[in-house]
Amino acid sequence: MEDTAVEEPEVSGAAEFAPALVAAHPHGNSVAVAIGPELRAFDLRAGLPVSLSDECGGRSHSDAIRAICFSVSGALFASAGDDKLVKVWKTDSWRCIRTITSEKRVSAVAISINDLYVTFADKFGVVWLVTLWEDSAEQVSVDNKPVSILGHYCSIITSMKFSPDGRFIATADRDFKIRVTLFPKNPLKGAHEIQSFCLGHTDFVSCITFTSISENQSFLISGGGDSTVRLWDYVNGCLLDTFQVRDKMGELLGPNETDDSSLAIADICPSNDGSLVAVAIQSFSGVMLLACDLVGKKLSFLKVITMEKSYIPTSLASSLSSELLWTVMGASNMPNQASSHLLTRVRIITSFQKDRLSSDDAGPATLEDSDVPHDEKLLLALQGSLDVTKQEEVLASVLAALKVSMHKMLVKKHYSEERREQRKRGRNDKKIKN
């Protein structure tokens, strides 16, 4: 009957592909890149690559990492993915202080504002919570098992963030929804009170982020498979503005490139003053910058930073204290990919702030490799290689996969009427004649 693997989301082979991720320490101390099962971090203050020590849980990640994040304080870092592990690291020593086992693969991870809790979402759409202990030397308490606090029924959660004041947790899913839930003082009993639903996307929501102009006023920005970036008043579930990336891309690229499914938003990242939003678009070799007017509550086009044709960013990150926008391109779990080929390409955009646009220099621009902070050491550590030509081959295949993958991964496969009838013939549970 319904017992056949209905629990597996319907995805094709290309969906096993896992994009490279980047995250930046909020105070600019370090930057981390995740590619496949590998975590690579670089200490920007010391100018040296980080060596991660992972003795807890007995193993480092053994399968693709799907989500990484720094906590708002910068003290903690979390990584989680297909190996059903969530790892929590202290960012001063880069030691893993907790390894949490999930029953299912993990699609999103977040750390609460006060560094007390880690939440992670599994592929059934359930969000679990674990309490962290302050003292990293303590043994992990055996009863500290993950508790489920909320769920998006039968959906995959693509992005999960805490609001800056810690009052809310926002979760976005592939079924076009964004849910904003009150995060209670005692979350172990669950987060049952929904504040709002932010509904408006007409395709999967790929990424959400909070942005604010002042301490009291923050907003939610989201990007989706419908090729839009939206601004929300999340307390009331109101859509404030929608930016149609497709229209702009049509102007910039011309008609041959504007295939709908390849214009999904891959990632978004706000600047530290809330005035800009950087947008990574699925098949666009560059970054689009939008002006974010939080007073007038509007999003508008600012400029496009084009990079070399073979570079499509899969993930974006910035820190609160610097004007750098980190971008990374890469993928793992590709067919025919040897493990030695876990290469990524890192490009940095500088002057990622609104007020730099009107000044005499060119404003936001991509840094040359030689101008990257700690240049070669950083690039080698995060990319895995300095050899650009070797990278080009690998990244070309990544490029091709990127163009179709996101759509396949998140959009539930719909079979045509004939195919469905054909599939039904394989069923062996028919009891009633219609």
Partner: protein, 254 residues
């Protein structure tokens, strides 16, 4: 199946032509249109008397736009809606049903009732949808005053318990669309499911029990066990029913 014009020509649809299996797979994304948000629900399709099509779908221009207040989740052949309609003639109610043929039956039934009884049954309608996934698409926050879950699929196997329409997870969403003070009605003839639903509601912080005296005084309560085809079948077989009726409360957060 078309109904004739007003007057004696409207015949009630024959269930025989709308037979469907009792179970439908709620996990498969069937191909029915889903409104992106409650603002997109076209009420003129459902309640033409109150929302004439030419004036726009959702009656927003009225001073206080009418909203749907009662939802029958898994309404089956529509028995409860038909029973509730005359009890609350000014309240808009909707049934939500996953099965295509059954939804068509209910649509035809309502049209026929409206034709045969002018001025009545204008306040009920049905929509084909998966209420486990799309309730927030149809209803705004705190919109509903009553929600009904009559004889839901028990999903006996433990691994299928997560498909039950009442669960801690889904109660979050039902609480969201219900106003404080609103009532949730559940009834089943399967004892284990009855215990499960009661237990979920008891554990959920946003619901509290409605005392028995209040339940007995509620004119709606009697309908739960008499109005629907399923309940009539249970009564015919001399079965027992288990109800859990709870009120949506607000949390006092300190």
């Amino acid at each position: 199946m078309t109904t004739n014009g007003a007057g004696g020509g409207a015949k009630l649809p024959r269930k025989r032509f709308y037979r469907a299996r009792a179970h439908s797979n709620p996990l498969s994304d069937s191909h029915f249109p889903v409104p992106i948000s409650p603002e997109e629900v076209d009420l003129s399709q459902h309640y033409p008397r109150y929302f004439p099509a030419d004036k726009g779908g959702d009656g927003e221009e009225a001073a206080a736009p009418r909203r749907i207040r009662f939802a029958d989740v898994g309404c089956g052949f529509g028995g409860l809606l038909v029973g509730l309609s005359p009890l609350f003639p000014d309240t808009l109610m909707i049934g939500m049903e996953l099965r295509d043929k059954v939804t068509e039956y209910v649509k035809e039934r309502i049209l026929a009732l409206r034709a045969a009884n002018p001025g009545q049954y204008d306040n009920i309608s049905v929509v084909r949808t998966n209420s486990m996934k799309y309730i927030p698409n149809y209803f705004r926050k705190a919109q509903l005053t009553k929600m009904f879950f009559l004889f839901p699929d028990p999903h006996f196997k433990e691994k299928n318990h997560r498909r039950r329409v009442i669960s801690m997870q889904l109660l979050d969403e039902y609480a969201y669309v219900m106003e404080v003070g609103g009532i949730i009605y559940t009834i089943t003839d399967v004892e284990e499911l009855g215990e499960w639903m009661r237990s979920c509601l008891e554990k959920h912080p946003l619901f509290e029990t409605v005392p028995e005296e209040e339940i007995k005084a509620d004119p709606v309560f009697k309908l739960l066990s008499t109005a629907t085809e399923e309940s009539q079948k249970v009564a015919r077989n001399g079965g027992q029913t288990f109800h859990a009726i709870f009120r949506r409360i607000s949390l006092q957060e300190e």
